[in-house]
């Protein structure tokens, strides 16, 4: 394998960390999270259904916590499960972690992952209680709604008009062994819930349509969140097993900016494309030593623009510009490189071809999109 392809291979230190992490995991319970995009899609039912199946297969399953309000369907499922009752702290019901640790089941069911515990509790948040159960080798099945994921709270709030205060960090989902998206079309959620997205009391066709659209947006967001978590797990797996990833499950766009041309239109297009493809945007430039102050200014402006666009920005070093860019692209699993057509042309480049020609030759497995400049 050519050395430049080896970007995704883990180094020794990475491998060591991986081994340590895996050893730790062996003494940890497994976490499975059911993710819903709105209340009423049936995540609690799915979660309890899984609990029931595991119990039937002979696993020691116990219900650790439920939500404060449950539907008749959920209630019926709970009737057949053993539960450790919630305890009361300062008048608020809280999951009884001590009792669960004493009882020490194989699997504990925890609904309402985002609940805050009252002051004086063992942990401030219910998901932190779950962390403790996991560290004591108790596996947990839990469920959570998109609106309660910290990083999505604002976006969801903008759609629903309601901002929740109780949240779970996205990282908590990333470290879950399993995540399962509970998908159902919005009509289902409309039928089954009364507290979902915008409704202003009347049930006119217009407001139903608005709610439908709001729910569709939430659904799309939840699917992409699940995809991100899955992508993270895939990368971990590949890295852990030293497998080179040549292909992208989603688009990663790299815009190569230079000190010689305005990169703004290319970055704007990169941003739009990344958005349309639900992908990621990277912007990179290769360091050059003999820049005039005008060129330095152009470069700075390009990089500042990239940062504003929310791109991952990187200044690369290397004897060969093309080599530096390709090495970076391969290490990040880039699927498309955007490059300007106005590459610097010396006398020799007119004869032998320029960076652009060399990039096209070198870019195995990566699309090259040439932009007007």
């Amino acid at each position: 394998m050519p050395s430049e392809l080896a970007g995704r291979r883990p180094d020794a230190e990475q491998l060591l960390r991986q081994v340590e992490a895996e050893e730790q995991l062996q003494h940890r319970g497994r976490l499975k999270v059911f993710l819903g995009y709105a209340s009423g899609v049936g995540k609690s039912v799915h979660m309890l259904d899984e609990a029931r199946r595991r119990k039937e297969r002979g696993e020691d399953v116990i219900v650790g916590a439920t939500q404060s309000k449950v539907s008749p369907e959920v209630d019926a499922l709970l009737q057949n499960m053993e539960a450790v009752p919630l305890k009361t702290v300062n008048g608020v019901p809280v999951m009884d972690v001590e009792a669960l640790l004493r009882r020490h089941p194989q699997v504990c069911v925890v609904d309402g992952l985002a609940y805050d515990n009252p002051p004086g509790s063992r942990h401030g948040k219910r998901w932190q209680d779950v962390e403790e159960l996991l560290s004591h080798e108790i596996s947990v099945i839990a469920s959570v709604n998109l609106q309660h994921i910290e990083e999505y709270r604002e976006q969801v709030g903008a759609i629903t008009g309601k901002r929740v205060t109780e949240t779970v960090p996205k990282d908590f989902l990333k470290f879950a062994e399993e995540i399962e998206m509970v998908d159902a079309p919005p009509e289902m959620a409309l039928e089954r819930t009364s507290d979902a997205p915008p409704h202003d009391g009347n049930t006119s066709a217009g407001s139903t349509l608005a709610r439908q659209q709001g729910l569709s947006q939430l659904r799309e967001m939840a699917l992409l969140l699940a995809a991100d978590v899955v992508d993270y797990q895939l990368e971990n797996y590949l890295r852990g097993h030293g497998i080179e990833q040549l292909w992208g499950t989603h688009e990663r766009i790299l815009v190569w900016v230079t000190p010689h041309a305005d990169g703004a239109p290319m970055i704007a297009s990169g941003q739009r494309n990344a958005d349309r493809f639900q992908g990621e945007l990277f912007v990179a430039s290769v360091a050059e030593s003999d820049l005039t102050s005008a060129q330095q200014q152009t470069l700075n402006a390009n990089l500042a623009h990239a940062k504003r666009a929310g791109a991952h920005v990187e200044l690369l070093d290397g004897e060969s510009r093309v080599h530096a860019v390709m090495h970076f692209a391969k290490s990040r699993g880039i699927t498309q490189i955007f490059v300007g057509r106005a590459m610097r042309k010396s006398h020799w480049e007119r004869i032998l071809g320029n960076d652009l020609d060399r990039l096209i030759q070198a870019a195995e497995g990566i699309d090259i999109r040439i932009f007007p400049q």
Partner: protein, 377 residues
């Protein structure tokens, strides 16, 4: 009950592998509908001898399959004509991507379903993400499997609703090991091929993203509909998006075998950018008839493939390939030209290769060189 002349609604359950529970979920929905008093029948059902799935068909009416002889064996296919005669409100159809045995009325099951929809029957169906045409190359990269039974992307876009049937890969692998999905001997074989964990994780991610894309697409069409009388203008049987973005994509078609992948890529880019899409080949000769048999065959195959994916095709005549291509692109206000990676390094002094020539001529457009996908080692 469906009204006369009204098209049925299509709901598609999308999974990422056999055994994630598509059929089970589909039958569960059918049972619910039946309990609500809806006239629902099973048009086609593939039991795979899974016990819990089979139990879900209880008290649902099943339309007998049609038996067909082919090369001395008997095959059973969905009997679309019998379903039309029975004319239920909702018909449940397993395995949307299935290819019918030669001699059937229509080559593909999705075409049978199309007939049901045209006759006002609502259809609930399912398929896996690996059967989507534009993902064919990526799927091959993940799994090493070239999926032959594919459904064009525009067919999926016609579904009124796409819902993801999700299951974490670890749970799926456990099911497989317990023999729930396949009988033990077949399970072992499956574990060796498609069912490797990284491949499953990748397929699952694709399915999640595809479902998100389908929702996004439907939302945009809905928004378009409010402004005009309809974002879909029916041309024959197929919807064409009216509210297109300013992007216009041109795919250069040649006899090179990698052209199929180029067309798929172009289709996907156009879909995500909501762009119009052309596929064009340039001949020095007056017409396709003047070409050698093999070259003509390859070109016709590629142009046909593009048309099946609802890409408008053209055959242009011109001695200067790059100039003919770019002139056409300019007339059509194309914003992005997609080309294959040149096989030879071009020398600028001697005119350069096609990419260099096109890039030089099409100064105001984006020129994309699409890389060949290869398998991870």
């Amino acid at each position: 009950m469906p009204e006369q002349g009204r098209r049925g609604r299509l709901k598609l359950l999308l999974g990422y592998a056999a055994g994630v529970g598509k059929t089970y979920k589909m039958l569960e929905e059918a049972q619910k509908l039946r309990q609500q008093g809806v006239d629902v029948v099973i048009g086609y059902f593939e039991p795979h001898s899974r016990k819990d799935t089979m139990s879900k068909t209880e008290s649902l009416e099943m339309i007998p399959r049609r038996k067909l002889q082919y090369r001395g064996s008997v095959f059973e296919e969905m009997d679309a004509e019998a379903i039309l005669r029975r004319h239920p409100a909702v018909c449940v159809v397993d395995e949307y991507a299935h290819t019918n045995v030669p001699g059937s009325e229509r080559p593909k099951r999705w075409q049978d379903v199309e007939v049901l929809l045209e006759n006002g029957i609502n259809v609930l169906t399912n398929m896996n993400v690996q059967h989507i045409e534009s993902l064919n190359d990526q799927i091959w990269q993940f799994t090493g499997v070239r999926v032959r039974e594919t459904v064009p992307d525009w067919v999926i876009k016609q579904a009124d609703e796409v819902v993801m049937v999700d299951l974490p890969p670890q749970a799926l692998l456990n099911r497989l090991k317990r023999g729930v999905v396949y009988p033990p001997d077949k399970a072992r074989q499956a574990l060796d091929n498609f069912f490797k964990e990284p491949a499953l994780v990748a397929l699952r991610e694709l399915a999640l993203r595809q479902t998100a894309h389908e929702i996004d697409f439907r939302q945009e069409t809905q928004q378009g509909e409010r402004g005009s009388s309809g974002a879909f203008e029916r041309q024959g049987e197929t919807p064409v998006r009216v509210a297109e973005s300013a992007d216009r994509i041109l795919i250069h078609v040649t006899a090179d075998p990698s052209t199929a992948a180029l067309i798929r890529r172009g289709r996907r880019v156009a879909d995500f950018l909501n762009a119009a899409c052309f596929a064009v080949c340039v001949l020095a000769e007056a017409s396709l008839q003047d070409l050698s048999g093999r070259e003509r065959e390859a070109l016709e195959k590629h142009l046909n493939f593009a048309r099946n994916l609802q890409i408008e095709t053209r055959v242009l005549q011109g001695d200067d390939m790059a100039k003919t291509l770019v002139d056409f692109a300019r007339r059509q206000q194309v914003t992005q030209i997609l080309l294959l990676r040149p096989k030879t390094r071009g020398w600028p002094l001697f005119g350069g290769n096609l990419v260099q020539q096109v890039a030089r001529l099409a100064q105001e457009m984006q020129v994309t060189i699409v890389a060949e996908r290869r398998r991870a080692s």
